[in-house]
């Protein structure tokens, strides 16, 4: 492995262990995508083959069907403790992307996550976001506090230095832990290649198209690609200037869409 990937891996493991040592009830948000699957792998490394916290999947009911099948199969194989949660009320009331993409994301993801955090009393949620994904994520802290109603006070973030993270906060608040913050997209793929991390095959080309980023079926576009292997994906990324989330419709709604979603608790 390159020294760069080794350093990233070691730091992520350090972060996961800090979260486990310092936060109360902890869960890992597993979106089924490549990032949170790498996160799963890193957790196994951090805890020597064990995963001392549950994996959480916020199921919007609009996910690409293969994702759900892959989720259930992997969870079984790895013996993961899974928590699957839906915003049942919003779904019963007919929430869907036609009602507005941001409205839909807010209800089926942000609100669902918030319900689940409250229901299980999570003090720490481990999330696989990365700085290079989009602007507001680049400003994140590794341990990022979420206040009342999961609000992210991004203009007034605490200092984070020398590996001393935010681990003290009022009851009712929780911490989003971001072990992959300093990774970028190509690091993820190089790591998957090196470590032979199994990923869902939606990332590989079928009939000339593949998914680069996974989300809900109605709002996630495919990209033109012939990449059939991890190596070919890496080669493709080395030669692109198109952003990773270009296929994610909610990001394109307005220039600050993501910042606004995330302020209110979106992952």
């Amino acid at each position: 492995m390159t020294s760069h990937l080794k350093a990233l891996e070691a730091y992520s493991v350090f972060i996961l262990r800090e979260a486990y040592a310092k936060l109360g009830r902890l869960g890992l948000l597993w979106s089924i995508g490549k990032d949170s699957t790498v996160l799963l792998w890193l957790a196994k490394k951090a805890f020597f083959g064990h995963c001392p916290f549950p994996f959480i999947h916020v199921d919007t009911n609009f996910k690409i069907p293969e994702m759900i099948a892959y989720r259930d199969k992997t969870a079984r194989e790895l013996g993961l403790e899974m928590i699957v949660h839906q915003n049942v009320k919003a779904l019963e009331e007919g929430m869907n992307p036609q009602m507005g993409r941001l409205t839909c994301c807010k209800a089926l993801k942000t609100e669902a996550l918030s319900q689940l955090t409250a229901k299980y009393g999570f003090e720490g949620l481990i999330v696989g976001v990365r700085r290079d994904e989009e602007g507001s994520r680049s400003k994140e802290r590794i341990f990022s506090e979420r206040g009342e109603a999961d609000f992210w006070d991004y203009a007034n973030q605490p200092p984070e230095l020398w590996g001393q993270f935010k681990t003290d906060f009022p009851k009712g608040h929780h911490i989003r832990v971001h072990p992959l913050l300093q990774w970028n997209e190509i690091d993820i793929w190089r790591y998957i290649e090196e470590e032979r991390v199994p990923v869902i095959d939606l990332y590989f080309s079928k009939n000339g198209y593949r998914y680069r980023s996974l989300g809900c079926e109605p709002c996630t576009g495919k990209i033109k690609s012939e990449a059939l292997t991890v190596r070919e994906i890496i080669n493709e990324l080395e030669n692109t200037t198109v952003s990773e989330r270009a296929g994610r419709a909610q990001d394109q709604e307005d220039a600050y869409a993501m910042q606004k979603l995330r302020r209110d608790g979106y992952m």
Binding site: Y20, K45, F48, R141, D168, S243
Partner: protein, 570 residues
């Protein structure tokens, strides 16, 4: 494992860009990314759209300032990290805000950088935050500082201006004990000297911005001797694993190690891993490891593993340089939480020796507190001794943060550790101390017809220590509370051990027997009586001393006076 030959030799350097607000930090970075085709098309278009919408020319700074407020106000609020690569290596470039208000964000960004670019506006020259940032970098341990004299177009590319600014920064860094790594002139907005040399300043024979990056040197792994702060002890299966990140030095199977505090000696049996292919014989600084050791001590987070011959200092008192980020000023005697590596403990600033003026680096007399963004030399006392090092010897175990309530309000580095002044007290937990005569033996000296006292050999007790419950002239219960009225401190003894030492303020009557600092029973049987006794002893005078003793104390409860003589010994 496949190794990509191209990648193998590449390394990543973490670089922070600092400077006074508006001197052009974001533009420098944005232009660098733009001129080297390092930004994705989507972002360039997004920024073009936002610039057009607001009727502004293309703002390179917008490539970094992602928050709406940042673009609207044209300032960087929070730090951003970007990846960038040259032919030689990869970079993480950290854009740190220059606004005074956001110094804590600058510190967050700069704290783990290996090198810094200090951007100074040629037209405005060195300003307050230019110096403050350089000063802060030195406290953060960033020693490699390069100067960018930006906006050369505003001073007609005048070499004299450039030289003068360079000289100023050079001298300032020298007084911090640092050397200026290199200096270049630039006009970021116009792309002068960014990716290619500029015709506008033919006098500049040095590197372009792009070349200057590659001229920085990668910090070598810290080889100052093994420091492995324990994060946790895992017992998920039949392995007992000490987990942590190696902060400096290396460790290998068979090493004789010592775990502090407590000076626990043992040997490394193996380095644990989940996957077979990750199991190895040795690991070095930066790696997150799990040690399996020969002896099963009681281990916990906060302990530090080192080689036997070079352990850290274990102390509860030291001198430090600190920088303050709290809205409320630092005040002596207030309780803060100190976090150093994986240790956490209560701390008190016992003395503010002086403030340091970032402009002149002169020492200013202490006004009794340290305000927002100020730097000070202080003395710190902790609740309990923890393993630590001088910052000059070991960076990671020589620096700490201070927390007030939930918030980090300060950072600091350990400057010196003093010999502990002798404690006359019998019980001590950091700054809380209490006198103790509980274990002194009384006897009646027949030939002299008087009561004498013998002092026991070990007069000091800390939390976790065992105390002698039975002597020749005393017998205490297994669990009781010692209330030392002279020092307003209570000591909780549980199963013969000191469980805690607290001030009366933090003490609540627990229904257990109360014994005073001399071993006499205190006649208190309820919370109300306890409050009353406290009140009366607080108001004690030499005149009513006898009355109070008669009302509240029972000499015979736990003590008796045997007849002894010269042979009476403990």
């Amino acid at each position: 494992m496949t190794e990509n030959a191209n990648d193998l030799g590449r390394n990543t350097l973490k670089l922070v860009v600092v400077g006074h607000v508006d001197h052009g930090k974001s533009t420098v970075i944005g232009r660098l990314l733009y001129d080297t085709d390092s930004v994705n098309q989507g972002l360039v278009e997004k920024v073009r759209a936002i610039s057009a919408e607001t009727g502004q020319p293309f703002e390179f700074a917008f490539l970094l300032d992602a928050f709406e407020e940042e673009r609207k106000q044209g300032i960087t609020i929070d730090t951003t990290q970007l990846r960038f690569k040259t032919k030689a290596r990869d970079y993480v470039i950290i854009d740190a805000p220059g606004h005074k208000e956001f110094l804590k964000n600058m510190i967050s960004g700069a704290s783990d950088a290996e090198a810094a670019f200090l951007v100074v506006d040629a037209g405005r020259g060195v300003e307050e935050q230019s110096r403050r940032h350089a000063h802060t970098l030195s406290l953060l341990g960033v020693e490699q500082i390069a100067l960018i004299v930006n906006k050369m177009d505003l001073v007609s590319y005048d070499e004299k201006v450039y030289n003068q600014i360079t000289k100023g920064i050079q001298d300032y860094l020298l007084s911090l004990g640092l050397r200026l790594t290199l200096s270049i002139p630039l006009a970021a907005l116009l792309g002068d000297n960014v990716a290619s040399p500029s015709k506008n300043f033919p006098w500049h024979k040095g590197p372009t911005l792009l070349e200057a990056l590659d001229a920085l040197t990668k910090e070598a792994a810290d080889d100052s001797g093994l420091r492995l702060p324990l994060q946790d002890v895992y017992k998920f299966d039949d392995r007992r694993i000490l987990a942590g990140r190696i902060e400096s030095g290396q460790v290998k199977v068979g090493d004789r190690i010592v775990i502090n505090p407590g000076h626990k000696l043992t040997t490394v049996v193996s380095l644990a891993a989940w996957l077979e292919r990750d199991i190895k014989e040795a690991a070095k600084a930066g790696e997150s490891v799990g040690l399996i050791v020969e002896d099963e001590y009681y281990n916990r987070r906060g302990e530090v593993i080192s080689l036997v011959e070079s352990p850290p200092i274990v102390s509860d008192r030291f001198k430090a340089s600190i920088f303050w980020m709290g809205k409320k000023p630092l005040i002596p005697k207030r309780r803060y939480k100190l976090k150093l590596a994986t240790s956490e403990t209560e701390a008190e600033i016992t003395e503010i020796n002086h403030l340091i003026d970032s402009d002149t680096l002169a020492e200013k007399p202490s006004p009794g507190q340290v305000g927002l963004n100020e730097v000070a030399a202080v003395e710190i006392a902790l609740n309990r001794p923890i393993p630590l090092d001088l910052f000059v010897n070991h960076k990671a175990t020589g620096r700490f943060v201070l927390q007030d309530g939930y918030d980090v309000v300060g950072g600091g580095i350990v400057a010196s550790v003093e010999e502990r002044p002798p404690v006359h007290a019998g019980f001590a937990k950091g700054v809380i101390t209490a006198r103790c005569e509980l274990f002194e033996e009384y006897f009646y000296h027949l030939s002299e017809s008087m009561v004498n006292k013998i002092k026991p050999p070990k007069p000091h007790y800390a939390v976790g220590d065992k105390v002698p419950l039975r002597g020749r002239s005393f017998l205490y219960p297994d669990s009781f509370d010692i209330v030392v009225f002279r020092d307003l401190v209570a000591i909780k003894i549980r199963q013969g051990e000191v469980a805690d030492i607290v001030t009366f303020n933090d003490y609540a009557y627990a229904g257990l027997p109360l014994i005073n600092g001399r071993g006499f029973g205190v006649l208190v049987h309820s919370e109300a009586e306890w409050l009353k006794a406290q009140e009366e002893f607080a108001a004690m005078t030499p005149e009513n001393e006898g009355v109070l003793a008669g009302r509240w104390l029972d000499f015979n409860a736990y003590r008796h006076i045997p007849i002894g003589g010269d042979d009476f010994s403990v």
